[in-house]
Amino acid sequence: MRRYLLNRLWQSLVTLVLATIVVFVGVRALPGDPALALAGEERDPESLRAIRQQYGLDQSWLVQFWKFVSHAARGDLGESIRTGTPVRSMILSALPVTIELSVLAIVIASVIGVGAGVLAAVRRGGPAEWAANGLALLGLSVPHFWLGLMAILYLSVALGLFPASGFVPFFTNPVANLHHLILPAVILGTGLAAVIMRQTRSSMLDALSADYIRTAEAKGLPPKAVIGKHALRNSLIVVVTIVGLQLGALISGAVVTERIFALPGFGKLTVDAVFQRDYPVIQAVVLVTATAYIVINLLVDLLYSVIDPRIRVRGEA
């Protein structure tokens, strides 16, 4: 297990270095000179040179890269070109919102998706399967933004059940915090719930026809143990992978959802930075996203080996 862990950590580190290079080059490959964008109206060569010097843009890419990496490693992500605020503090205030939204969305999607998937597999051919399949198709086909707008229109504006927008930090008021986040989380989770449901259903069907299920039944175990333990534990291996793969979609979904519900999260920060050509912010946002993605994948892989003992041992071999 330790060897597997070290191996996996090393892979993550390599990926992170590659991601850093891509971010650095990517930002510089964008059309337009950041100095020009910064200079605004005063485009005389003198002020342009001053700007380039101030931001180190006159140095070679290698030197710039080294500065970027060494600063980033110390947690210094530079300052916003627009506001002068340290990017680090901008990110630190936006990140908790997105993390909470995503975690909530994953929890809701998993509970609904796994529950409906198991039900659809066990009640195969019955109305429960039809209903679950229909809802999954709907969940996959209906775009987030439309669903979000409809939810605001009917549930928030017409019925007044949920606030239409805004955010209250969890530690200020946990109840109000959940009240604000539950609707966006459900909206963000619908697509994921549909994917999880379909995956759970098909892997449960596979598991239920496996020999070890026959053994479990021959042992006289109650259906709760046969389905909820023996079959589900095996199905979850596939489901966890799928959830891991879907996290990319979740992150981009969060951008849209945060925009609709006016949540001051990472997605909003990204969109604003792009609109304002705030290069240090874009660079930092992409780097943090990539890091988050790598960390999440690492966690998924570790979770995977907790569920499936065969992976643990293969890593040792």
């Binding site: 053994t215 021959a218 569920i307």
Partner: protein
């Protein structure tokens, strides 16, 4: 002697897209206390379906008629709760594929303990202690260490031993072993058969041994029921069956199986031409007639019934003289 397990007129029909499929037709047999009954036949003759129907393990597409009595309790038509309390406790199973019959994500100790905790209500610690004893009983060395292993860490033979340990955990009255050695190497097979023999001697477990391997039958069985196309065509005490096979199908099976010395003079093994028929309904004729070298006119017009007596055969033209096979 009252039988532990009495199967009477057991019939199983499957609903399929091509209409009903008759898998087992009026099968009857009895298993005495501590007796080993072998059910023999080719693939698709209904052996496994018969075995599964005993504890109600067939899928919902199966219709089961007839009677299965376990120590006087009727199992056909019994409610699910009753069946669950019997499975694993009174009737236990061992399956053909030890590779896939154990759940890959739980330790073998957990899987054995589970039976004990479900049926006897042992706590975690007691179940573990008992599981270690059971692993020792089936001949697994360093059981204390092996108990924490996952199935993929064990060899095929070890896994089958674990299956057996799990099956006998609650000291069942009847152990149904469905092709327990088929998936294993010959050298491993003997060990598994030893374990089964030991269980019968030590615990007095009755065993229904489903197999197509006549070597296994000769090694372990007291009595044999030969099945063909869903019917029992011959049943006799094991030595009697090997010495005086009366049904042409039985002689065919014996002739098709290799035995040390028997085919020494480079004699070819005899093949029974044709396949076991797939039957949508059981005809009023002998189902073996098409493949039978001894078929007479009656065979295609009327179904033969098992004769009474200790050596029973369902055939219009049985082999009466001891044959050289």
């Amino acid at each position: 002697m009252t039988p532990v397990l009495a199967v009477k007129d057991l019939s199983v029909t499957f609903r399929t897209e091509d209409g009903p499929l008759s898998a087992v037709d009026h099968v009857s047999f009895e298993v005495g206390d501590g007796e080993v009954l072998a059910v023999v036949g080719e693939s698709g003759c209904g052996k496994s379906v018969t075995a599964m129907s005993i504890a109600g393990l067939l899928p919902r597409s199966a219709t089961v008629d007839g009677s299965v009595e376990l120590d006087g309790t009727e199992l056909i038509g019994a409610d699910k709760r009753t069946l669950r309390s019997i499975r694993g406790r009174e009737v236990a199973y061992i399956f053909q594929e030890p590779m896939t019959s154990l759940n890959p994500v739980f330790t073998v100790g957990h899987q054995i303990s589970e039976v004990l905790r479900t049926h006897i209500g042992l706590n975690r610690q007691d179940a573990r202690t008992r599981a270690i004893e059971l692993l020792k009983l089936v001949g697994i060395s360093s059981a204390e260490r092996r108990i924490g292993d996952y199935p993929h860490q064990l060899s095929g033979g070890m896994r089958q031993r674990v299956m057996i340990a799990m099956a006998v955990a609650c000291d069942p009255k009847v152990l149904i072993a469905d092709e327990p050695t088929t998936a294993l190497d010959v050298t491993i097979q003997a060990g598994i058969l030893d374990v089964l023999r030991g269980l019968r001697e030590r615990l007095g477990t009755s065993i229904v041994l489903i197999t197509h391997d006549l070597g296994v039958v000769a090694d372990l069985a007291d009595r044999v029921a030969v099945m063909y196309a869903g019917r029992v065509v011959e049943t006799a005490e094991v030595h009697d069956l090997f010495a005086n096979p009366q049904h042409p199908y039985t002689t065919g099976l014996l002739g098709a199986s290799p035995a040390a010395g028997r085919h020494a003079e480079s004699q070819r093994l005899n093949e029974i031409p044709g396949l076991v028929p797939v039957l949508t309904e059981q005809p009023d004729a002998c189902t073996f007639a098409d493949r039978c070298p001894r078929a007479v006119d009656t065979c295609t017009t009327s179904q033969p019934q098992l004769t009474p007596g200790p050596h029973r055969v369902a055939c219009w033209n049985p082999v009466r003289e001891p044959v050289e096979v």
